[in-house]
């Protein structure tokens, strides 16, 4: 970019006198300019030669402009679903865990399945924000904010289940090391307690990371509100009969949250260091969280759970399921919000599809390995779990597993369906990615169900065998958490900057100080 004042550039672009000078190579099939394979051309991260001002306008526009009609409809719908879930939780707490389909044989089922499902979904956000930051993957800037938000909301849903599954919620404080007159302390040698610490640390650190990343963008929202306040003597008010201007409210709230950030480079220096350190600790943290979740199972002596492959297998599965959820949320958002395709390009989707392919294949490898080791170890119980409690349908052999269809749903969704991403046409088709992401999300839920329920529904002696059937309360509680998750995400899209503006601006070509004409 030549040394023209930004005002002149903006004015020139509006009148058509200036076109920013980067030629774009447009992919003919998809019409997207980021899918360039020519090694001599660096694929742009932001499409349509957006200026810094355009980026602020697009992202702040999602907050400042009236959302589409769909937003309010969806908000109402998800709020209703979340409300039903909350009622189910209240019913459970008042009545007891008997309202779920648990019994003496299967005493962990949907509760822990849902917990592991949601906590796994959270992992994609931290992977994008922390691990890709350390690996200097610049494309993360287009997706990290939304993925981090998704992480936090998913961990909120996840944390609900261990909390309510104890039955007597008023004793939940005993999992925390709180000094009490009984002199009782938690058992720090239990993986279940490690889990409490892992999940609560994960939530807290993700929240801090998310908030710190948002400080500059909140300051942008604040400054834009203040500029509008000064420019016009009157403007839209909060409510017709309340004289407070919306921009005044924005200036206060975003101003409070931005902590007086003023984009000083002396500040940026400390900020970048702190951000890198947070990314540095979040990287082992995200790997540790799902490892510790897997210890809940792996440290037991139950066939099907007692395996050393669990920690890496769980982490790969978590990233796999998490990316699918990011895509499920962002592909519709990309269609519904104006200009979002410039910031969240097909290349972002393609990259995420590649990660789904890699992690899906890792999960497939883990499934195969579990089977192989069950046979190779010579452990009869282990082999029986895989052969007769999971894989073989009862219509092939009467000894077979009543839950066979869960197992094969999992295999189809998690191992077979992502293989479509070997084909570029599938990786660059949002519809195809969306459909496969639905499969992956279903498959990852079934993975946890298969691991938990099929391992415990047939214990060592047949007298301990039984089935688990979900009750309506089971189902509605899970559906309710989906509502909570989407409700929070919709609020996020409306009230917080959905893209990391300062980070996107930093990776645009015009941000480089070395491009001096």
């Amino acid at each position: 970019m030549s040394a023209i004042h930004p005002d002149e550039i903006n004015a020139g672009r509006l009148t058509g006198a200036i076109t920013l000078d980067r030629p774009q190579v447009i992919d003919e099939r998809t019409g997207d300019g980021t899918l360039i394979d020519d090694p001599a051309v660096r694929a742009p991260l932001v499409l349509n030669n957006r200026s810094l001002h355009d980026i602020s306008n697009i992202v702040c526009g999602y907050v400042e402009d009236k959302p589409g009609g769909w937003w309010l409809v969806m908000l109402g719908l998800t709020a209703a679903i979340a409300g039903i879930g909350t009622l189910m939780i209240a019913y459970l707490l008042i009545t007891g865990v008997g309202v779920w389909g648990l019994n003496n044989r299967v005493d962990w089922a949907w509760d822990i399945t849902n917990f592991v499902f949601w906590i796994g979904i959270g992992h994609a956000g931290t992977l994008i924000s922390a691990i890709l930051c350390i690996l200097k993957q610049k494309w993360r800037t287009g997706i990290n904010r939304a993925a981090e938000a998704m992480t936090i909301f998913a961990v909120i849903c996840a944390g609900t289940f261990p909390g309510i599954h104890v039955g007597r919620i008023w004793f939940i404080w005993m999992v925390f090391p709180i000094p009490d007159s009984m002199g009782i302390w938690p058992n720090f040698k239990s993986p279940l307690l490690w889990d409490v610490f892992a999940v609560s640390t994960y939530f807290t650190v993700s929240l801090l990371f998310w908030y710190m990343g948002m400080i500059p963008d909140l300051a942008t929202l604040r400054d834009r509100a203040v500029i509008r306040l000064k420019a016009a003597a009157s403007g839209p008010t909060v409510l017709p009969f309340i004289k407070l201007r919306v921009d005044q409210l924005r200036a206060w709230i975003y101003g409070f949250l931005a902590l007086g950030w003023r984009f000083s480079n002396r500040h940026w220096q400390n900020y970048e260091k702190a951000y890198l350190l947070l990314a540095g600790v979040s990287t082992p943290l995200v790997l540790s969280v799902h490892s510790i979740v897997s210890f809940d199972f792996a440290t037991s002596v139950l066939p099907g759970w007692h395996t050393t492959i669990f920690p890496p297998y769980f982490v790969a599965g978590a990233i796999f399921g998490g990316f699918a959820m990011v895509l499920l949320l962002m592909i519709p958002a990309r269609e519904l919000y104006p200009n979002m395709k410039d910031l969240l390009t097909l290349r972002h989707l393609e990259n995420m599809a590649k990660i789904i392919l890699v992690t899906g294949s890792m999960v497939g490898f883990a499934y195969t390995m579990e089977f192989f080791i069950a046979w190779y170890s010579g452990n009869k119980y282990e082999a029986d779990v895989f052969m007769w409690n999971r894989a073989t349908p009862p219509w092939i052999n009467p000894r077979g597993a009543p839950y066979w269809w869960c197992y094969w749903t999992m295999i189809f969704c998690n191992v077979i369906s992502p293989q479509a991403f070997w084909f570029r046409a599938c990786r660059t088709s949002p519809l195809m990615i969306f459909v496969i992401s639905i499969f992956v999300t279903i498959g990852m839920w079934f993975e946890r169900f298969v691991i938990i329920v099929t391992s415990i529904h047939r214990a060592f002696i047949p007298g301990q065998w039984g089935m688990f059937y979900p009750t309506p309360v089971d189902i509605l509680t899970f559906v309710g958490t989906c509502g909570i998750f989407l409700f929070l995400f919709l609020l996020f899209l409306k009230f917080l900057p959905a893209f990391a503006m300062s980070e996107i601006k930093n990776v645009t070509p015009q941000a480089s100080p070395h491009e001096h004409h």
Partner: protein, 189 residues
């Protein structure tokens, strides 16, 4: 801000001068202007930009941030406190034999030690970032300038404070202008 050196400058309207600011068109201009200000020996000045300009630390002559040291020390102390606490609980506070293992066996304490270390590190990273930057600070003279507010959008600004020993309204303004600065103006306290 209290003035430590020399005289107090006032605008023609009689207001105390906080400093002098100039806009720059591109990150490259800002970068080179920062080098000029550094070489001219200014100390109380700053570059404002919508994103951290690559390599600006050297151009401004900033020393390395000591933030990682603080974060490292407190993070490791947190891990140590976490470990000691678990050991105390397992051997003194509520000594219970679990699975026939020695009371003070260290291995099971590692996951929680790690988590507590991470927790301390994360809090220290955010809080020390704020402390090093004297934030939160909801009032600042620059924020009264509408031109300055556009830094959060797409502008780059250099501001030299009046308390800088080298500050002189005319000479500093001339230097900023010679470094391709636009819209040079005084900022009221």
């Amino acid at each position: 801000m209290a003035k430590k050196h020399g005289k107090i400058y006032k605008t023609s309207a009689g207001e105390v001068v906080y400093g002098i600011m100039a806009e720059f068109a591109t990150p490259a201009d800002t970068y080179h202007a920062a080098e000029k200000m550094r070489d001219a020996g200014y100390r109380n000045w700053d570059v404002y930009s919508p994103f951290p300009i690559h390599g600006i630390d050297e151009a401004m002559g900033l020393k390395n941030s000591r933030l990682p040291l603080v974060v490292g020390v407190i993070g490791l102390s947190g891990a140590a406190v976490g470990f000691t606490f678990q050991w105390w609980v397992a051997t003194h506070g509520f000594a219970t034999v679990v699975q026939g293992k020695p009371l003070g066996a260290w291995q099971p304490f590692i996951p929680v030690t790690f988590e507590i270390g991470v927790l301390f590190t994360a809090f220290t990273a955010l809080l020390s970032m704020l402390a090093f930057n004297f934030l939160p600070m909801w009032y600042h003279p620059l924020m009264k300038k509408e031109r300055f507010l556009r830094v959060s959008d797409d502008r780059m600004v250099i501001c030299v404070e009046a308390r800088d020993p080298n500050f002189d309204p005319k000479k500093t303004a001339a230097l900023l202008e010679s470094a391709k600065g636009y819209n040079v103006e005084l900022v009221e306290e």
